[in-house]
Symmetry: C2
Subunit: 223 residues, 2 copies
């Protein structure tokens, strides 16, 4: 097993997270670094999706990953072993989200100047992470088929703040009562401009569309 860097995140001292997030975004813009905040429920397939995605784009842009987790380092090790890109683990010490200052603590520990894209894998949770701007350029979330197409009705804020909704585990669509059209409708009820990309991270199906989306995003950001 590879060893990965583990950062123990400290609670933020800044009172105004929105201001702090806007500042972080400006700094990243100046450095030409694109930060993506990736959220989901536990087990929706964030890590598997990232491995597929990174292996499709790592020859075109420089990628680094920050894995936020309550206290394991399973995901950072997996990403590092499967893709070879820099991957660090952020321990939140029980905290259920990351804000901009906590994200900054992570960024201070990746080789940000050697990355075009930094992906923050947020804590697996559809409630708290949605409430805090991390300073990311975009928020993305993965909804997996087994969770059901009604989740935008039940977790409104998460779907309101996300620019991209990846629908994962499409290979098991035949075994679940998941209505893709209804899902699209509910997502757009929360955010009419949200991009929706169905994929199967296990087989790789659809991940090319995700790669295309992120490459275009990064290229626009660097202009």
């Amino acid at each position: 097993m590879d060893e990965v860097k583990i950062i123990e995140i400290k609670k933020s001292i800044f009172a105004d997270n929105d201001k702090d997030a806007a500042e972080l975004r400006k700094e990243l813009k100046n450095k030409g670094v694109y930060l993506l905040n990736l959220m989901s429920s536990p087990g929706a397939g964030k890590t598997t999706t990232l491995i597929r995605l990174i292996n499709l784009i790592k020859d075109k842009i420089r990628v680094a990953v920050m894995e936020a987790d309550i206290d394991s380092d399973v995901d950072a090790v997996k990403i590092s072993e499967a893709t070879g890109v820099e991957s660090i683990q952020l321990h939140t010490g029980g905290m259920c989200h990351l804000d901009a200052e906590m994200t900054r603590q992570g960024l201070d520990n990746v080789a940000v100047n050697n990355a075009d894209l930094v992906i923050l894998e947020n804590v697996g949770n559809l409630v708290c992470p949605a409430e805090f701007d991390t300073g990311a350029v975009r928020n993305a979330m993965i909804l997996s088929v087994p969770e059901g197409h009604d989740k935008p009705l039940k977790y409104p804020l998460m779907f309101t703040v996300c620019d991209l909704v990846v629908i994962n585990k499409t290979d098991v669509l035949p075994y679940f009562d998941f209505n893709m059209e209804k899902c699209r409708e509910y997502v757009h009820m929360r955010n009419p401009r949200a991009e929706i990309i169905p994929i199967c991270a296990k087989t790789g199906e659809g991940v090319d569309a995700l790669a295309e989306w992120i490459l275009k995003e990064v290229s626009n950001w660097k202009q």
Copy 2:
């Protein structure tokens, strides 16, 4: 659609939640009311499981349900329509968990004196709800097969505080890399005394074992 009572939960003013929870438990003991706190990720099948379970036990004991949700009333309506038992919705106003005082606000609004068992369906989240004693007699959680058997490694506190782990969606075991033995091992690593009951809420398989567990629990509590 039936109408259900919707309670807007207010933030707690009590500083010592553990003390408050212990007091609530004592009051419930005196009234002979068993409170079960049911937790899970979004989409793990809490509501479907409850409907199956309640229909198996409602002729033997009196059941009421409190559905905590950020702001919809989908679940309380579903439960009420499918089982006929009293079901109220607790709106947490964005809060990601319930503590004892918030649970008490809910209990004040169900006909507690006419119930042997009150089930609190907590907010769908494996992080925050684990941190607060609600005053329940037992904590239970539902882990669904698509989420993966490694969840006890990644959400240690949730599995430490749960007396019962229901493993749902066993009908899709053939389509996921879910190792039941490893799951048992990881759950018992967090809590060696945890009961594990595999079920399929969709087909009803295994729910009889869950019914047996809860009937025995309620009967012991009322002695």
